[in-house]
Symmetry: C2
Subunit: 421 residues, 2 copies
């Protein structure tokens, strides 16, 4: 597509989304539920079409030499379709986050003032590879009465188009505007640049993917962005740790699923922990096949630990590698986390209430944890039913974001003719 034509296409898309958002706001809850449940049945009845469109993407991916890991994430089979169907039904059953009133006040002049919860409006999601994000993200947006513009990875284009079209059909069948779910109908990168400038019609951008993608989005966007760049999560094992808890927590945080943002990337060990316990931590990780990068103190705990550099303290390995540092105590641990961390999720293992409280207060992260694994930092695990992403920003929503976090409020002021003097 020529760049002027892309500009026109994306502008029309966002204007249609804005109109759809107006119609969606305040729609009867029964229609929202019907749309989500209809989408669940359409996935079931159209699985042949979905697999055939997905097949086109898989064949193109193989031709273009995509890795097995990426091809795996790209695949829509009966298992991934079943999981999308379950997700839709779960989101449909959640309580609506919209409406109600809160923060009531009556002013001396008799004005009645409150806030009411409303959708954000139009949300743009920019993501890579996995086509099931198309359905999950759209479901969360529709539940919270937001119109959504989806821009998926180019490898999944045919799969995403098929899923987005089914969603539009489901909306229409429920008497809701089909343009409330739209996929950007081109894989040209110019479309992203155009989208990020539509601040009149789009209210929020959520990028999901590698750090490079997210930095580009933040740099170019005139629209507010909620995101996390990366997850450099820490576990600090204090001299007051219960080692029967510390060992499984440390292993779980690194090993249970190393490729995700809430996996541990740096272990901080209190130098005052008994020497045998320090060694036990290092050995437990090595037994699981974790390659360690340590400072000089840590390297003396076992053989075969590589020397950590400044880059290791900032690294998001996303695999079975781990930076390990010995610290003089809680203060140094906190300073390390706030300096090198990514404000995502950090945990302390300690029996001391004083240490726990100081850690909670001082560590500047979206989730702080006591005596448990960083792997729990997740919308499902927090009981939110689903998540549209994790925010390390300070504004609006922090940590895992669910349907409640895709809402804002408006002030409602009710008078009897009062004027200002």
């Amino acid at each position: 597509m020529a760049s002027r034509s892309i500009e026109r296409t994306v502008r029309t898309l966002t204007e249609d989304a804005r109109t759809a958002s107006g119609e969606l706001c305040g729609a009867p809850e029964a229609r929202i539920t019907k749309a989500l449940k209809t989408m669940a049945s359409l996935l079931d009845t159209h699985r042949a079409t979905i697999k055939s469109e997905n097949g086109k993407d898989l064949r193109a991916g193989r031709r273009n030499g995509l890795s097995d890991a990426i091809l795996d994430r790209l695949t829509l089979d009966d298992k991934t379709i079943a999981s999308m169907i379950t997700g839709l039904k779960e989101v449909a059953s959640l309580k609506s986050p919209i409406g109600g009133d809160f923060d009531h006040r009556v002013r001396p002049n008799g004005l009645k003032i409150h806030k009411t919860r409303v959708p954000i409006g139009v949300v743009g999601i920019i993501y890579e590879s996995r086509p099931n994000v198309t359905v999950d993200a759209a479901a969360i947006c529709i539940k919270s009465q937001n119109a959504v513009i989806l821009r998926g990875g180019k490898e999944a284009f045919n799969s995403n188009m098929a899923l987005a079209e089914l969603f539009a059909d489901a909306l229409e069948a429920a008497g809701l505007p089909p343009r409330a779910v739209q996929l950007v109908p081109t894989t040209d990168r110019t479309a992203i640049d155009v989208l990020l400038r539509q601040s009149d019609t789009v209210d929020l951008i959520i990028p999901r993917g590698g750090e490079g993608l997210i930095r580009t989005v933040v740099e170019k966007s005139l629209i507010p962005v909620i995101k996390h760049y990366k997850g450099v999560c820490h576990v600090y094992v204090s001299r007051y740790a219960d080692m029967k808890k510390a060992l499984p927590i440390v292993v779980n945080a690194k090993v249970q699923r190393p490729g995700v943002c809430n996996a541990m990337e740096t272990l901080l060990i209190d130098k005052n922990l008994p020497h045998a316990d320090q060694q036990a931590l290092v050995q437990a990780l090595r037994r699981e096949g974790v390659a360690l990068f340590g400072d000089s103190h840590v390297r003396r705990l076992a053989k075969g630990i590589a020397k950590a550099t400044e880059e290791d303290w900032r690294a998001e390995y996303l695999d079975l590698r781990l930076a390990v540092r010995a610290v003089s105590g809680l203060d140094q641990a906190i300073e390390h986390i706030n300096t090198y961390g990514s404000h995502h999720t950090d945990a302390i293992v300690s029996r001391s209430r004083g240490e726990q409280q100081k850690f909670l207060l001082r560590v500047d992260s979206s989730s702080v944890m006591i005596n448990t694994s960083t792997r729990f930092s997740d919308g499902g695990q927090y009981g939110m039913g689903c998540e549209i992403g994790i925010s390390t920003d300070k504004l609006h929503a922090r940590g895992p974001m669910g349907v409640d976090d895709l809402t804002t409020y408006k002030w409602v002021v009710t008078g009897r003719g009062q004027i200002r003097t």
Copy 2:
């Protein structure tokens, strides 16, 4: 200052602010109160210095041909000093927005999860002319335990420096980090560009001033920005209006203080309102000296009404001019407001409950009002004690922003050694 030196100065400033923010977070409430009250006494005892520094700015302003209106806003006299002192005492007496816990949940695996309210961290305020903003904004930030970086207008540089230095003294006297309040020590515009790139150390930018300044900030910032571009506020007078309320509301919304963002800029009149009532609205405004720009229907209501163009529907006049449009009813009024408005504050005058509810639901603005004047859209009037700005954004805070809106939350997860399976 050479541009490399400005870069270094601003970076140091923001790093010092980040450090101060860590020390401020969780400081005893008594110290916060002491700092604010000490600042109030310092303003009282140092009024000679303040006036003398302000005198430098006023003399330079006169030399540079600033208008009387700007020189007036620039002046710090006993009245403005008294008002800053009152403001400080009011903010000191507000309830702290920090701490506590909410959104409790216990998960099936026994994990206890809640949120606690924390400061945003480091806030940058970019503003024009009025030096009292220096004190008001710093007070709100300190009350909410945020460090603040102030960048005021160059015409007020000496006044702002004097006030910021007093604030640092007040913090020090209360045992708090003096670097929690800092003014950018140069009037060079490069400093703003550098500040807007410090996303590692600064969490939020609030620009206050003309639309041009705010658009530049949004375009250049890598840090989240909360703002309003302008206030194009509407009053819609429905066929069901009580004219005894409508007339004073319409006059008040335009005339009581036309130069501010919550003044009415467009009046929408229902064509189905009795003709005499339509004429009465137009005449009441003309009697107050308001110049009207109307569509063809409106121009037939009285003589001397100029023809409105498309630009008038989008205009923020900020003076005694007003656009007036006749609409076919509620739906067209809502469509006009959502198309041409600025999502700031819009009001309906109507006795119909159905119309009121539809207006509240459909008008996509930060404050929606029934039977009262848009001029009430203000932190003080909403009972927030003070405000740091008004947001027309959808994210984080919407409408008038007070101390509560300068906070965020963190998730706290407490376990007994749980690991993820």
